[in-house]
Symmetry: C2
Amino acid sequence: MPRGYKAAAALAGIKPTSSKKDCALVVSEVPAVTAGVFTTNLVQAAPVRWCREVCRSGKARAVFINSGNANACTGDQGYADTAATAGYVAEQLGMTAREVLVCSTGVIGVPLPMDKIRRGVELCAAGLSPDAGHDAALAIMTTDTVPKEVAVELQLDGGVVRLGGMAKGAGMISPHMATMIAVITTDAAVSPDALSAALKRAVDRSFNRICVDNDMSTNDTVLVLANGAAGIKELLPDTKHFQRFEEALCEVCINLAQAIVRDGEGATKFVEIAVLGARDNEDAMRVARAVAQSQLCKTAFFGQDPNWGRIACAAGYSGATFDGNHLSVFLDNVCVMKNGMRADYQESDAAAVMKKPSFRIEIRLGNGTGEAVFWTSDLSAEYVRINADYRS
Amino acid sequence: MPRGYKAAAALAGIKPTSSKKDCALVVSEVPAVTAGVFTTNLVQAAPVRWCREVCRSGKARAVFINSGNANACTGDQGYADTAATAGYVAEQLGMTAREVLVCSTGVIGVPLPMDKIRRGVELCAAGLSPDAGHDAALAIMTTDTVPKEVAVELQLDGGVVRLGGMAKGAGMISPHMATMIAVITTDAAVSPDALSAALKRAVDRSFNRICVDNDMSTNDTVLVLANGAAGIKELLPDTKHFQRFEEALCEVCINLAQAIVRDGEGATKFVEIAVLGARDNEDAMRVARAVAQSQLCKTAFFGQDPNWGRIACAAGYSGATFDGNHLSVFLDNVCVMKNGMRADYQESDAAAVMKKPSFRIEIRLGNGTGEAVFWTSDLSAEYVRINADYRS
């Protein structure tokens, strides 16, 4: 974990039938510059609204996260509960409520069990340690099958800067709502505006380029805290150092985003969709997203079927502009469609690619220099089972 | 079938492993006014491009349809094959190729087997009968489990006008492409412009309001032929008679569209999504479509789970403008969400609605008078099996 942070995890009993830890706390020893990117869903959970306000101030000292309850669609009481959670964390740690970020993930439409939350806050506050990052990553899991963590060190002229990140997300949460939450800490010194801008760009290259199912949650939240504890002077925008910091931040985000896809509910495949030769990057993104989200493409991935017709079809309705007669598709290095028609390939070569747990689809539009990349999983019968049978 | 039409179906052997009829022909005794609505996919099959051109002339005498091969992504040869098909039909029936509409549905990227197509044309031309409408509806099926047909009679002052329709579509076609095709015939007399305008409005209220999966095909086609054989004088736009004709046309389209959803691949539920109180009809449509397409909502329908949180979530990311605190959701007559929060309802009442094979979800946005309706199926493990395992 980067310098100057502690973490903790605790079992507060928010998930009635689970004996796994369900609360996590990350604390910076000093006030940290903070920035966040949030769901654009019109229906936003109370903690999302709270975090937006804290991030507007540009400073925070702690992040408290509970799993098992999303505190979404809970009205005014939900917001009051989030504020009370922040207040209780602040009281325990000797800071103000407005310095405490709060994230919730889990069931929607159920009031937050405040007695349990208070217990979780107390246990976490008492258990803070520089070595509990992994425990925290475990505690924020819901339908995740593995914790998602990453650490990056960056050697700069004045010394070393560290970044650490954890995330949760696999598609859906028992039993109601898809959510992804990521918390990134760094001991770099950065201004609020520069951090916010860098995070937005990093999220655009990572969390905005993945899908498991296509439902955007009410709780999606990516937070970054930068506390300057590395002791290196502030990284100023438009410098080489800042550029390297932003690349590292982006690496952390891409790593966590890909980990979410790899752990996608029921997923058996990790597929990179690369689009080249688009009119512009936006058009490339349209095609990549359409293929990545297509239910028919995703079932074909699950079926290990080199079904390039479905890929061409999704490209065609993506809204991008191109000439279908110039469309080519590669599965890894096997060209299956060339200039709008079936290419000359061996079915066994294409099938061999599809059998791999991870492969790349390259789509060439022949209409310019725009490009984009997107990561997706397959759609399996197990996904349907997970999301349909939860209550039965 | 309306007056002045004959139909036929034949087995040409286009589907290698099937012994079911795979060619259909519908012929009007006299040149009929014709109109069509087609897929907006950029990648369009050759027969779609051909039909667009025929419809531009406003007149046609025959529709030839083959299943088992979509003639999509087949380049210039594909278009030449469609033209040759039309030419062969014309030769057999004594008309011009430009009076023959051609539809294809089935596998993509494989050249049309022209020897078999020619055989199919010959057999159909030799077997034309006023009573073969049902045979034709059977011959255009692919993964459909039931034929889709509808007949409507309209009593007007001068006599009776008849409309008949058949459609195919269930989601996907072995092994490559989702397609829906509908052919509607009537013995009414209508001008090309009036027919085209009426068809567009009818399609907007029917085929544009359904989804099984969310993939728009390369071959989607809705055709209507009006041959005037009822002997009633031309129905002029903006008259009461025309309005009743258009309503009947709309009824035919809605009936066929709903039949496609009911026969959706793997579907166990038919769900009507109604949105009320939107800022305008477009916003209502955004919400209805988002819920109808949501993978999470559709798996919840399959799981018979009254999961209103997923419905609220999809409404929230639909792009429509509303206040989440005014959002209410009904499952049939059970209010499960009221003013942005869980309503006071019995879980058993909500669960009982979800157990029905067909139910209605009403979403009230409290933001105006806009409204929309959409029909969708559930997403089952069987859907995944159908679309993933076809080649295995």
